[in-house]
Amino acid sequence: MSHIEVRGLTKSFGGHLAADGISFAIGKGSLVGLLGPSGGGKTTVLRMLAGLERPDSGDITFEGVRVNDIPPQKRGIGLVFQNYALFRHMNVFDNIAFGLTVQKRSKTYIRERVGELLELTGLAGLAERLPSQLSGGQRQRVAFARALAPQPQLLLLDEPFAAIDAKVRKELRLWLRDMIDRVGITTLFVTHDQEEAVEVADEIMIVNRGRLEQKGSPEHIYGTPQTPFVAGFIGESSRVEAVSELHGFEHCHEGAKAIVRPEFIEIGSPRELRLPSASGQGIVKAVFFRGTHWQVEVEVGTNRLFGYRDLEQPALHPGDATHVLVHRAYLVSGGQVSVVENRYKTDPMPVHI
């Protein structure tokens, strides 16, 4: 049995559907990332799990028990807010101890448990500080320790790194991953940053416009996107309006649309390409220096694509005629995505997923 199960969760705010029939299950001890664009409904889902928002319909079960009518106080959930929501008038110790005093734990237990968490989160020595005397990263750790103190069954994190400088963010990500592994708690964390989701989560759920688009491991979602949104949202991509104009894709029906990742494309002279026979002609439109590689924009027919080129290879210039080899494309039709391989490369039959 899954630890957390959600079925048909729906919530609207004044006619606007913030969550639209969301269903998923989370296994015990797993770390799941809820990924999606801003306003997609991630926070709403999190708040419904925590009991802070009442779903219009749908069920939430923890260990098979329906918790819809259990108040947030009794759900045993640790919640870390985007801006931490620390108690400003309490020092670090009292912040962390808050949930324990609510549980009427003994003084000695509280001291021990808080001490343990201070140690675990690397805040030892800061117990007397007020939140205003801490750095952003330290505040985030306090919020984390405060949520963990009462030993919740589920940890929910809402954009835990959004308010932190880019540099510290990377460190904190690894720290969080490590910490959650050590505590072994089922965790759901929200982010709009796919790099963050991929790096931290065992499993990713992609939410857009209140709908769960796809759920799976990062590799799986990357390799086999199931919806046009996911195909375009995850990784980098160019939109292709007329895929039948690309060499090797003439068999696609006219006007079919597709999404092509830069990794699927080779640009250069025929000698540089792995399979020159499968490539077509294109015109270089723009070239950008990206530090470790060139980003090259080419025009093929009416389509514009971009791909990468090694810095070692001879430079291309806008206006140059060049060859473009498209290995693979995500064909988009009717809300479905299918992978099509270049037919001069492999089997001419498209593979439907």
């Binding site: 802070l52 106080q73 919640l79 620390l86 108690f87 008038h89 609510v102 549980q103």
Partner: protein
């Protein structure tokens, strides 16, 4: 005193505006106030001390401070409640209620005085109800507290209201998800954040009440030793051309008021800094 060294600015008019400000301020406020203290010091310490420790004067001070404190406490409780209700709940006529809170700022004190007196007199709408209970409201210290409460209402409401509004709902939600129910959340999480503003508002109401005259003279009855407040005693001394006595009483009140002004300013600066610090 401000010094005239301003940092370089491309804007004109510093000399003119600053000069005008200082001259006007000095002529109309500083010199007159200084005159009072000079006059008071001219009395000599013995005479001054004798005046301000006179039994009637001490009784008036006690009454003024006591009644002002009582009114500030009443306003602390009800002002907080009003601010809370205005920020947290919706109900019909809320906008109107919000607007009317400022009435004591806009209504001349004499009008408030005669209206409250009429209401609380023995045959007044409310006084009538209190007489059978053995409570004398008008012409008693209770009447003074009522008038001073009226005067102080907006101070607490208008100081607490914005702080309540700015409170982060998520801290409450954090408390809730950590298992706290409403009462604990209120006492442990909400109240401590509002307390500085509440105290500031009460201090302002208190400071205003100490000096209040117009709304009190009608309802107090003005009996020496019983219902005579300090500002009224100043007035009485003046009418008897006892300038020295009036000045001495006033000097003591002024010093108390200035200290209060300083305290409220510091309190308020702190509250604001807290609000700004994320």
């Amino acid at each position: 005193m401000p010094t005239w060294r301003k940092s370089r600015s491309v804007l004109p008019g510093f000399g003119l505006s600053m000069g005008y400000t200082l001259v006007y301020l000095s002529l109309l406020v500083l010199i007159p106030l200084a005159a009072l203290f000079i006059k008071a010091s001219g009395l000599g310490w013995a005479a001054f001390w004798q005046t301000v420790t006179d039994a009637r004067v001490v009784a008036a001070y006690k009454l003024s401070f006591g009644a002002s404190l009582a009114a500030a406490l009443v306003n602390g409780v009800f002002g907080f409640l009003v601010a809370w209700v205005l920020v947290r709940y919706t109900f019909p006529g809320k906008k109107l209620v919000d607007a009317i809170v400022d009435l004591p700022f806009a209504l001349p004190t004499a009008v408030a005085g005669i209206a409250l007196t009429t209401l609380y007199a023995q045959n007044g709408w409310i006084g009538k109800l209190l007489v059978p209970l053995g409570i004398k409201s008008a012409y008693s210290p209770l009447g003074i507290i009522i008038a001073l409460t009226f005067i102080g209402i907006p101070f607490v409401v208008r100081t607490v209201q914005p702080v309540l509004q700015e409170l982060d709902r998520e801290t409450e939600e954090a408390a809730v998800s950590l298992g706290a129910y409403r009462t604990r959340t209120f006492v442990k999480v909400l109240l401590p954040q509002v307390l500085p503003a509440l105290i500031t508002g009460m201090a302002m109401a208190f400071a205003r009440a100490i000096g209040e005259y117009g709304s009190v003279v009608f309802i107090s009855g003005n009996m020496p030793f019983k219902t005579e407040i300090a500002p009224l005693l100043i007035m009485t001394k003046l009418e008897q051309f006892d300038y020295a006595g009036a000045t001495a009483i006033a000097a003591v009140m002024l010093i108390v008021s200035f200290v209060l002004l300083l305290v409220t300013n510091v309190l308020q600066a702190r509250t604001q800094r807290k609000l700004l610090a994320g």
